[in-house]
């Protein structure tokens, strides 16, 4: 099939874009999932959509393609462009503009026959549409909320939905398009606005979430409706896609590692599990409503005071005890403030003028380890009920001494 700039299926480009943006390491030959032709087409599309951000390099003798974005400088997430590439037919685009030209204000109401006739006159019969095609399109638009259908006796009347004035919201939309969940929808609103200066930039800004926007929006719809869902999930421990039925409860967002997770009830396993959104390839909302949604949410609410990351459990008695102590100098009160502002659960206590203890009971000690490592240079005591993790952390520190040439290591003997 001839190359086209627009696409029908988003999932194909989703994995390529993520690979190009997060890694940017693979050569053409390594994209084995699809054919070489498919790789060439996807790469060409990305060049067309995101040319300014594409970079080609020689990497260990192979040519690689990468997306390079300094998200502190870029004020609009460039990955949103991928969501604006859906293909359509000649009839679709013609009908779109014709419908809203005939229904140019919310006061105008037309029957299907009247619309067919007026569109025919408007287009001077250069393209004609029958009632069935138009009815289908109007029904689709009613579902999108841009057309309203009203009954007048036995007749159905069609009108455009009332307009909402968004011009005064321009600054708020610029901000939330990057900050809020499903920000790509804000980007659709930005496209409607007249040109203006965007006064917001963003630090610690993970733009890859854009690629999971549809999964997230569908999950929210299911959560709002207390519905069961069926997902296709490629977990990190599986080579094949798993099909899983779940009750979605809440989405957990990290501002520090760019990951987004769904916390859901796995009924068959009777467990609260987390699923990374970027590993979910599809979500189907089932008709069935989960009658115990509210009680499951309450369980999750109780569990949260023992969650460091996204690992959770039913019973808060099944937690692990974590304690560590740090040493601070006189002028280092900011370290105590760091403990207070960065802790997500547990508590901090002062032992003496130069020692503080952090204590928590959490479902998964291992999730805390990266944070505890940030206090390397002042850790004086560890006391974890999970001794394996405690010993691993101590061994990690020993390994770091060796890596950096402390303790007699040569500093280069890595691995």
């Amino acid at each position: 099939m001839a190359y086209k700039e627009l696409i029908k299926d988003f999932n194909r480009i989703r994995s390529y874009m993520r690979e190009f943006y997060v890694y940017g390491l693979k050569s053409r030959e390594e994209y084995t999932e699809k054919s070489a032709r498919s790789y060439d087409d996807e790469r060409r599309r990305m060049e067309s959509w995101l040319g300014d951000y594409m970079r080609f390099e020689q990497n260990a003798g192979r040519k690689t393609a990468a997306l390079s974005v300094d998200s502190r400088v870029t004020r609009r997430n460039p990955l949103y462009k991928a969501w604006k590439t859906k293909s359509f037919t000649d009839g679709d685009i013609t009908l779109h503009f014709a419908i809203f030209d005939v229904l140019c204000t919310p006061e105008i109401k037309k029957t299907l026959a009247e619309l067919v006739q007026e569109i025919d006159i408007l287009l001077v019969s250069r393209m004609t549409f029958d009632e069935s095609t138009l009815r289908k399109k109007l029904k689709e638009y009613a579902g999108e909320g841009i057309i309203r259908m009203e009954k007048d006796g036995r007749r159905t009347l069609y009108r455009r939905s009332p307009d909402v004035e968004i011009a005064p919201l321009a600054d708020a939309i610029d901000f939330f398009s990057e900050v809020a969940l499903c920000g790509v929808i804000g980007s659709f609103l930005q496209d409607r606005e007249p040109p203006h200066e965007n006064l917001f930039s963003f630090k610690h800004h993970y733009i890859t979430q854009a690629m999971d926007s549809d999964v997230m929006a569908t999950l929210f719809t299911a959560i709002r409706g207390h519905r069961y869902i069926t997902i296709e999930n490629l977990g990190k421990y599986f080579d094949t896609v798993q099909i899983i039925q779940l009750v979605p409860l809440r989405i957990y967002i990290s501002t520090q590692n760019g990951r987004q997770n769904l916390l859901a009830f796995h009924e068959k396993a009777n467990r609260l599990n987390s699923y990374r959104l970027d590993y979910i390839s599809s979500v189907r909302i089932e008709d069935e409503i989960c009658g115990k949604f509210e009680s499951l949410r309450k369980v999750l609410d109780r569990a949260e005071s023992h969650m460091w990351g996204v690992n959770s459990g039913w019973n808060v008695k099944h937690t692990e005890h974590v304690e560590f102590e740090i040493r601070i100098q006189k002028e280092e009160s900011f370290i105590v403030r760091r403990l207070e502002r960065e802790k997500r659960c547990g508590h901090v206590e002062k032992l003496d003028d130069s020692h503080y203890r952090y204590t928590a009971d959490v479902f998964d000690t291992r999730e805390m380890v990266p944070w505890i490592r940030t206090f390397i240079c002042r850790l004086t005591r560890l006391n974890f009920s999970n001794r394996t993790v405690e010993n691993e952390l101590k061994a990690d520190i020993q390994e770091m001494y060796r890596m950096y040439g402390i303790d007699g290591g040569d500093g280069h003997d890595f691995q």
């Binding site: 990468a66 604006k84 999108e144 909402v164 919201l169 989405i251 590692n257 990951r259 969650m307």
Partner: protein, 302 residues
């Protein structure tokens, strides 16, 4: 749900082309410029020929519009649901705007449907009246190009006053804080939350003071291919300007650029990976890590 042609660059661009055609008898060149401005680099190969040939019969042969009205489309339900959701966000108070006419719309999500679980707890007071007032005055000053005078408590706890030109805002989700990027004073930026007083400054004459230059530095890391570290580290550092490579013997090397003022934060972020990420260069950064480790050694960890 989100992937729809209603939001596509092509629909948007065709609307802009038709608007241009409404404005005046438009030349083909003007329409082409419009497409180049609004759409993708290869879109001109499709959009203009489709409009000119009548494949999309929305332009007459003389390039005047077939439509009788400028093209418009009401907001979709999804767009309204998203607006309804952000109307409930505490940050929206900054903007002093009411989201209108959405009484019959359910929000796409509510605050109870998600958690930002690792955001720092000492974020800015986004619902505080004086904080909002300072934000709005600075926003207005940015748009009008007027200077302001601010009084704030600096990081050393001292009260200082200065005049400056606010240029833009920078928000960090991790810190949940807004910084103001400025010109016309020695500062390059400051935390909005530190401002105690803010007003327009009636300058009698322009002054010449420029912010201290921010030094850009680079860092090269070696990422061990264990415990899924390459994936975790590449994603963790994804927001930096960076370059990844895999050496011929299969090792992952990540080079990134950062502002010197962020160095202390970057040191602890590297430390958080433990022995799975090693600093290769520069030596000055290696020394910062070594200093941390030497200090750790003196703690005699039990």
């Amino acid at each position: 749900m989100i992937f729809s042609e209603l939001y596509s660059v092509y629909y948007h661009t065709v609307a802009r082309v038709l608007e241009t055609a409404f404005d005046s008898p438009a030349s083909e060149k003007e329409l082409q410029n419009c497409i180049e401005r609004e759409a993708f680099s290869e879109s001109t190969l499709t959009i203009l020929p489709a409009l000119k040939s009548g494949k999309w019969p929305l332009l007459n042969p003389d390039l005047s519009p077939v439509l009788r009205h400028r093209p418009t489309m009401p907001l979709t339900l999804l767009e309204k649901q998203w607006l309804k959701a952000i109307a409930d966000d505490p940050h929206v108070k900054l903007f002093g705007v009411e989201i209108p006419e959405l009484d019959d719309v359910e929000p796409l999500f509510t605050r109870d449907d998600y958690r930002i679980y690792d955001q720092y707890a000492d974020g800015d007071p986004f619902e505080d009246a004086s904080y909002i007032q300072h934000f709005q005055l600075l926003l207005s000053a940015m748009k009008s190009g007027r200077p302001v005078q601010i009084t704030m408590v600096n990081r050393h706890g001292k009260r200082v006053s200065t005049r400056l030109f606010p240029k833009s805002f920078e928000y960090s989700s991790k810190d949940d804080k807004i910084r103001v990027i400025v010109d016309g004073c020695r500062l390059r930026c400051f935390n909005l939350g530190r401002v105690e007083h803010c007003e327009y400054y009636d300058a009698e004459a322009l002054w010449h003071e420029t912010p201290r230059e921010e030094h850009r530095k680079s860092l090269t890391l070696w990422i061990v291919d264990e415990r899924n570290t390459p994936e975790r580290a590449m994603l963790h550092f994804a927001h930096f300007k960076r370059r990844a490579e895999r050496t011929e013997d299969g090792k992952y090397i990540l080079s990134l650029e950062y502002d010197e003022s962020d160095e202390a934060e970057l040191v602890i972020r590297v430390l958080s990976f433990g022995p799975y990420v090693k600093v290769l260069e520069p030596q000055s950064f290696v020394n910062l890590i070594r200093a941390k480790l030497l200090a750790q050694k003196s703690c005699e960890l039990r």
